[in-house]
Amino acid sequence: MQNNDIVLRTEHLSIQFGGLRAVDDVNLEIRRGELYGLIGPNGAGKTTVFNLLTGVYKPTAGRILLCGEDITGKAPAEINRKGIARTFQNIRLFHNLTVIENVMVGLSNQIPCSIAESIFRLPRHMRSEREYYERALALLEVFQLAEYKDYLAANLPYGKQRKLEIARAMATNPTLLLLDEPAAGMNPSETQELMDDITFVREKFGMTILLIEHDMRLVSGICENLTVLNFGTELAKGATAEVLSNPAVVTAYLGE
């Protein structure tokens, strides 16, 4: 069954760490332009799903298809070039680079300029550097981070660091954006701002987004479909309202 509208499909995706089935038979199907939620209690295997999708871990069983192409077992850098970008649950910016340089690193594969050209064709190098800078600045403007462009990433306020991670991921020009608890540690007003940003990115870039989130209100506010993980397995999936009223889901969360 081939369908161009399915950006991501996983088939029986599984990984085992020793005796622990951290992810067990997970079948996702995410349509183009969709904002899909992945929720579940602590240790349910959500981040592990991201690590599988981005090639950090190799699945012990199952397949991953990006726009119909099998990317199972490919290396992280290659998967990124094929169109999956992510943020991290614990922020992993390049702290010794400035805000704009972080985004420029994300742009690395978007503007061709070889190291030989950098050394031996200076004018060409300067032109591509300008282009890096301008495209990075444009992205920072989208995320209202332009005024911080010359800050070291480490010196950015926490909420802005989370936004910068999204901007850096977007710089790699993904087809699918994976956000791992982007609202973690944010206060309510920052969370609201973030939700607006996610909605904006989705609309402006037509981005397909897979969102891990703990905050039920945030999820129910913006995701149309959900998968709930519990102990690595799918507890429920489907339309947000139905899933969230599912008694098994309620129990899993209350029992947390």
């Binding site: 981005t54 950090v56 290396a75 992280p76 850098a77 990124n80 070039r81 970008a85 992510r86 991290f88 614990n90 992993r92 390049f94 702290h95 010794n96 680079l97 340089e101 420029m104 690193v105 994300g106 690395s108 594969n109 503007i111 300029c113 190291i115 950098s118 190098h125 591509s128 550097e129 890096y132 850096r168 991921a169 790699t172």
Partner: protein, 295 residues
């Protein structure tokens, strides 16, 4: 002995250490390994110059050709060592990598001895003689050349790291290799480029040492390698300005110690003593950052 001239010749020696120390510190920062064979790349450069001088007739062209050949051969050697000895060990224990590096060091030294014999050679064609007098202050031309070359290289390297996509990727990889991978950075290429830069600098260091009158033998890079490694640790391994600071500091201390008759025989001990004292006070080195553990 004039104190100022001792200081200036110390700066010259320190500049050479700095150039070598950068090779250690960049590889450590980006590939997270101690490349103990780095000093022997200097020796490889020395022999590349020896062969080139024998082949090219015209004296000035010979020097230029020798430097160019040394840079090419060193880059090729450094990148090959990384590709065939270290890359297969990515993810192996640091101890395995360290032992391999020591093995590579012995391998290069032995090969040089087999090919070129054990007698040391003087490359008079490379030597820079003469000096200028500023009043009573005597400055050798070779010191001036060394300082000028070092400044130019440091500026170029700093600009490259700050204002090129490869340079930014190097900083990114040194900070978080996995996150860089997930941003699509080809970290293997970045590591190879780092070895190439370090090896090119080793070739220049070889030229500066021979220009100063060092004799060429298969151990040419051994002691300078250890000293430069010491310099990199003093400055804070992984830190580029640290490597320069550590190199200059070590060169000046060395020169001062040589100039005091009572200390002169113990100069090496003085230098390594300084390393110990600095590490006791600042375990991460002068400009090094204490490591944050990642969770």
């Amino acid at each position: 002995m004039n104190f100022l001239s001792v200081l200036i010749s110390g700066l010259g020696a320190g500049a050479t250490y700095a150039i070598i120390a950068i090779g250690y510190t960049m590889v450590y920062g980006i590939a997270k390994m101690l490349n103990f064979a780095h000093g022997d790349i200097i020796m490889v450069g020395g022999y590349a110059m020896f062969v080139t001088l024998a082949l090219v007739g015209h004296p000035v062209a010979a020097v230029a050709a020798a430097i160019l050949a040394a840079v090419l051969v060193c880059v090729l050697m450094g990148v090959s060592v990384e590709r065939f000895a270290y890359k297969p060990l990515r993810g192996a224990s640091p101890l395995a990598v360290l032992i391999t590096a020591i093995g590579v060091s012995y391998l290069l030294q032995s090969l040089a001895q087999i090919i070129f014999g054990s007698a040391s050679k003087m490359l008079s064609g490379l030597q820079i003689a003469g000096h200028v007098m500023l009043g009573t202050l005597r400055i050798n031309y070779v010191t001036l050349v060394t300082l000028a070359v070092t400044v130019v290289l440091m500026v170029a390297l700093t600009l490259f790291i700050k204002y090129s996509k490869t340079g930014r990727a190097m900083v990114a990889v040194s900070e978080d290799r996995d996150a860089a991978l997930l941003m699509g950075i080809n970290t293997n290429a970045i590591i190879a480029i780092t070895f190439a830069i370090g090896s090119a600098l080793a070739a220049i260091a070889a030229y500066l040492m021979l220009a100063k009158g060092a004799s060429l033998a298969n151990t040419l890079g051994a002691m300078p390698g250890i000293k430069a490694f010491t310099a990199a640790v003093i400055g804070g391994i992984g830190s580029l300005p640290g490597a320069v600071l550590g190199g200059i500091l070590l060169g000046v201390v060395e020169s001062l110690s040589y100039s005091i008759p009572a200390l002169a025989p113990f100069t090496d001990a003085v230098e390594f003593g300084i390393l110990i004292v600095i590490l006791l006070v600042k375990p991460a080195g002068l400009l090094g950052k204490a490591r944050r553990e990642k969770v």
